[in-house]
């Protein structure tokens, strides 16, 4: 195991000094050192999307991202996501788009990046955009409706 090195991560607009080995993932550093446990370890293979965080505004799989590669980046986790994410939270609540909640952090962050790029995304664009985030509880329809509701708000 390689030795830990100090590194500064900018997470949710705050700089944190952490100790991470070269092979440590962003997910373990966020969860174990910064106690930001909103990002979840669902598969550790980059498939389920529950660990999604934003790096410079782009959704990434924190379980596949090495912490040291994020040195100069702006990292946003569910705990610090605002703006579109707040509108999505409201919409998820209204639509009943949350059941167990384990996918919800990743869903909200992926959807917020999608809407940042495509503010008036269509249902088909949303279905495609969320297809890398698994949900085993809802059947997705209410999640798509929630994201679509925010997109429709942007259309007006």
């Amino acid at each position: 195991m390689s030795a830990r090195q100090t590194l500064v991560l900018r997470v949710n607009d705050t700089e944190h000094e952490v100790r991470a080995a070269l092979h440590d993932t962003l997910l373990t550093v966020l969860r174990d050192q910064l106690q930001l446990t909103g990002a979840k370890r669902g598969c550790n293979h980059g498939v389920c999307g529950a660990c999604t965080v934003l790096v410079d505004g782009r959704p990434v799989r924190a379980c596949l991202t090495l912490a040291h590669t994020c040195r100069s980046a702006a990292i946003t986790t569910i705990e610090g996501a605002r703006g579109i994410a707040d509108r999505l939270r409201e919409a998820f609540e209204q639509a009943g788009a949350v059941q167990c909640g384990f996918c919800s952090s990743g869903m909200v962050l992926t959807a917020s990046a999608l809407l940042a790029a495509r503010p008036a995304a269509s249902v088909e664009e949303i279905r495609a955009g969320l297809s890398g985030n698994l949900c085993r509880c809802t059947g997705y329809r209410k999640i798509v409706d929630a994201v679509r509701a925010v997109a429709q708000g942007a259309e007006r």
Partner: protein, 771 residues
């Protein structure tokens, strides 16, 4: 009244904000001071005797604080129906991956690294990987001591047969004589993984008095308590079980997973220990849905009247019994479907094999048998030239009919379910559905029923000094929404705002017993207990108010907002605060309403039916459902796309409409996976696809956006506000309805799941149906 009622509204989840801000804490998010991390060593063999362990290198590895083998565990066994399972392998291993050694170290990486240093010597035994091989003469015996195991029912077992069950009504031979047409086929379903997005995990801590506190991902703190204590030989009073938020269950977290091992590690290490499974481990060592072989034979009259049914199930139980005897018995109870078939016999055999244990999974055997029975009805309808919906309606159980076995139906909305699905799907206009070029398209239909079950439940409603309320039920909300629904029931019964009631987190020390979040039971059973406990609080409030307002209790009413007053006299009223303060400090004692009950209606009426080896005497009341799907098949690839679906359920009364829809839609998506893509594949003795890379579950692209759910309300006389369960019913006939649509579109009748493009294409090529 009705505009203020909390019942029937789509209120947001009481815990929704914590889940949307990342603050909700699941098992992996819990930390304790001085906490160690656990890791497991799994068996490389499907069936072997353990000869010896060498754990010296692991014990000496950096950070390691504790290494336990089977020799460190006493000879105690657990099991919901048959006590056949140690907390960790002891003497023998019975499937690949079965935990044989457990390690606790300062970090997860150190624990996992030390696991690689463990050496276990085995003496390999012949492996049994298929149910037929388990039954073959001279087969190796997986549980030599089966006869001596403690069983909670009169199990019919022996050799590698874990349990066999038969349920029969009427006279089968007479049924065949009276039938004009008899259809018989065999159907096969695939093993399905639950894939709760949260893997299983546990965290145990021993206090100064030697008492253990255990947090875990679970569906019942009380089943965890019972399983851990019987597998470790601990008195139940020495273990307190708690639950964080749970990232879904679907049956996977009902019985024990690694909780017994984690408790033992914490006791041995003298420090808190947490162990969260990797996704691969979660696939390999917890449990999954049984693969079934189902032979279904149905006899009918020319006019479509069902006369006789014979069903034979062969179920692979895997290495340990777990909930399997219950699943087998329940699948047989469901194999007549929601229909009148006077002469029916259903028999099943559950065998041990050297694979992962199979167990409870949403539907509990119903999806497996329904794939056979509900597709056979379409085959019969086609042979007789009768509309598939019409033949179902003709034979549907009515309100005065009884379920297979003889249980009376308190409510039955099946006819309305069929009507809604038929109308909303425009079933009668289905000939006009247009397929895209190169595609075939058709609708498919199926009906179902499911119980809202069973066993013991309680509720405690406490009126605090300030007039607010704490509700405590012990029911674990695994994401389906019971915390919200039970809060709604409590608040509505006391006519107080939702935010005046807080729901306590399940705790075996302080909560009343609750068998578990399983069998679609919490709304029906726990909801009923909450309602009754709230009524008891109301009664005590009125006793105080009658003394204070100098009137008869019968003249009092609860008014919205937490007030009790004299009927018809607007000014004469008291807030709950005044009542509760009096009770706490001056007279009567703190106001606490309690209720507990156990479901006690017998499943089998011995005057009507014969049952042998049925593991449950009382199972629950019945919900009903109907489903229609619009399916398109690619003629070139065989790919099936479900474009639209209409799922309908009679839930008695919807307490929270949005949550009912959520259950129906989520169950549909899981059924879609079962129907089309999901299959755990064993390569010899080893699970070949224990990752989400290789085991696919439906995404937002595969589940149709046009997924319409409809609620039928045929109130149950005993349910809270008439409510029945809805957790499972939506999954039961998804595969059958899709298969029926595929047959209608292509003429290809698929009798094996999953319905992969390859199987569809082979069927079309064989039938000469491909374009």
């Amino acid at each position: 009244m009705s505009d203020q009622s909390l019942i029937g509204r789509s209120l947001p989840r009481v815990e929704i904000r914590e889940k949307l801000t990342g603050r909700a804490q699941y098992i992996a998010d819990l930390y304790r001071p001085g906490m160690l991390h656990g890791a497991l060593v799994g068996s490389p063999h499907p069936h072997a005797r353990i000869v010896s362990y060498d754990v010296r290198a692991a014990r000496a590895a950096p950070g390691v604080r504790c290494v336990l083998t089977g020799e460190d565990f006493g000879d105690h066994r657990m099991g919901a129906f048959i006590k056949d399972e140690h907390a960790i392998a002891k003497g023998k291993v019975r499937y690949v991956g079965e935990p044989v050694v457990a390690i606790a170290a300062e970090t997860e990486a150190q624990a996992r690294a030390a696991a690689l240093l463990v050496e276990v010597r085995y003496e390999e035994l012949p492996a049994i990987l298929a149910p037929e091989d388990a039954l073959a003469p001279g087969a190796a015996i997986i549980h030599e001591e089966l006869a001596s195991y403690f069983k909670v029912f009169e199990a019919v077992c022996g050799g590698n047969v874990c349990s066999s069950t038969e349920l029969a009504e009427g006279d089968l031979e007479r049924g065949w004589r009276e039938s004009d047409l008899v259809v018989e086929h065999e159907y096969r379903t695939a093993p399905q993984a639950h894939v709760s997005l949260e893997p299983c995990g546990a965290l145990a801590e021993v206090d100064a008095a030697g008492r253990v506190t255990l947090w875990s991902a679970n569906q019942s703190v009380f089943r965890v308590q019972a399983s851990v204590c019987e597998s470790l030989g601990l008195p139940m009073s020495r273990l307190r079980c708690l639950t964080p938020r749970v990232g879904a269950g679907f049956g996977n977290k009902m019985e024990a997973h690694i909780q017994p091992i984690v408790v033992k590690l914490a006791l041995a290490a003298g420090r808190p220990v947490k162990l969260v499974l990797s996704r691969e481990e979660d696939f390999e060592i917890v449990r999954a849905r049984h693969p079934f072989k189902v032979r279904v034979k149905t006899g009918v009259k020319k006019d479509g009247t069902f006369v006789a049914r014979d069903v034979e199930v062969l179920a692979d139980g895997g290495a340990y019994a777990d909930d399997s005897p219950g699943v087998l018995g329940y699948s047989l109870l469901m194999a007549r479907g929601p229909y009148r078939i006077p002469h029916t016999r259903c028999r099943g055999t559950l065998v041990y094999t050297n694979k992962l244990r199979f167990g409870a999974f949403r539907g509990f055997g119903n999806p497996q048998v329904s794939f056979g029975t509900e597709t056979q009805i379409d085959e019969i309808a086609a042979r007789l030239g009768i509309d598939p919906v019409a033949i179902r309606r003709k034979n549907a159980l009515g309100p005065d009919d009884r379920w297979f076995g003889g249980q009376q139906l308190g409510s039955n909305g099946l006819a309305e379910c069929i009507e809604v699905a038929e109308r909303e799907s425009k079933w009668k206009d289905r000939a006009q559905l247009a397929a895209a070029p190169g595609k075939r398209r058709a609708l498919g239909f199926a009906c179902t029923a499911h119980i809202s079950g069973l066993l013991g439940t309680g509720a405690i409603v406490r009126l605090l000094e300030d007039g607010s309320v704490v509700l405590n039920t012990g029911a674990v909300d695994i994401g389906q929404g019971s915390d919200t629904i039970l809060t709604q029931i409590c608040a509505d019964a006391l006519k107080i705002p939702l935010d005046r009631v807080s729901i306590a987190s399940p705790d075996t020390d302080g909560s009343p017993y609750n068998w578990g979040t399983t069998a679609s039971r919490v709304t029906y059973t726990t909801g009923r207990a909450v309602f009754a406990a709230a009524r008891e609080v109301e009664r005590q409030i009125k006793t105080h108010a009658a003394e204070l307002l100098e009137c008869a209790e019968a003249d009092l009413e609860l008014r919205p907002g937490g007030v009790v007053g004299i009927k018809g006299v607007p000014g004469k009223e008291l807030p709950f605060l005044a009542i509760s303060a009096r009770a706490h400090w001056r007279k009567g004692g703190p106001i606490i309403g309690t209720n507990s009950w156990v479901f006690d209606q017998p499943t089998v009426d011995p005057k009507r039916a014969v049952a042998v080896g049925l593991p449950f005497p009382q199972i629950g009341v019945y919900s009903f459902g109907a489903l229609c799907v619009d399916v398109e098949i690619d003629e070139t690839t065989g790919q099936i796309e479900v474009r639209r679906a209409w799922t309908v359920a009679d839930v008695g009364r919807a307490i929270n409409r949005g949550s009912v829809e959520g259950q129906l839609e989520g169950a549909f998506a899981q059924g879609l996976g079962f129907a089309l893509v999901e299959e755990m594949v064993w390569n010899g003795p080893r699970l070949a696809n224990p990752t989400l890379m290789d085991y696919k579950v439906p995404t937002s692209r595969e589940v149709p956006y046009e997924l319409h759910s409809y609620i039928v309300e045929s109130p149950d006389p005993d349910g809270p506000f008439g409510a029945k369960g809805v957790g499972e019913i939506g999954i039961n006939v998804v595969a059958a309805a899709i298969a029926n649509a595929v047959a209608a579109a292509t003429g290809v009748r698929l009798r094996q799941l999953p319905m992969t493009p390859e199987r569809v294409l082979r069927g079309m090529l064989a039938a000469g149906a491909s374009g």
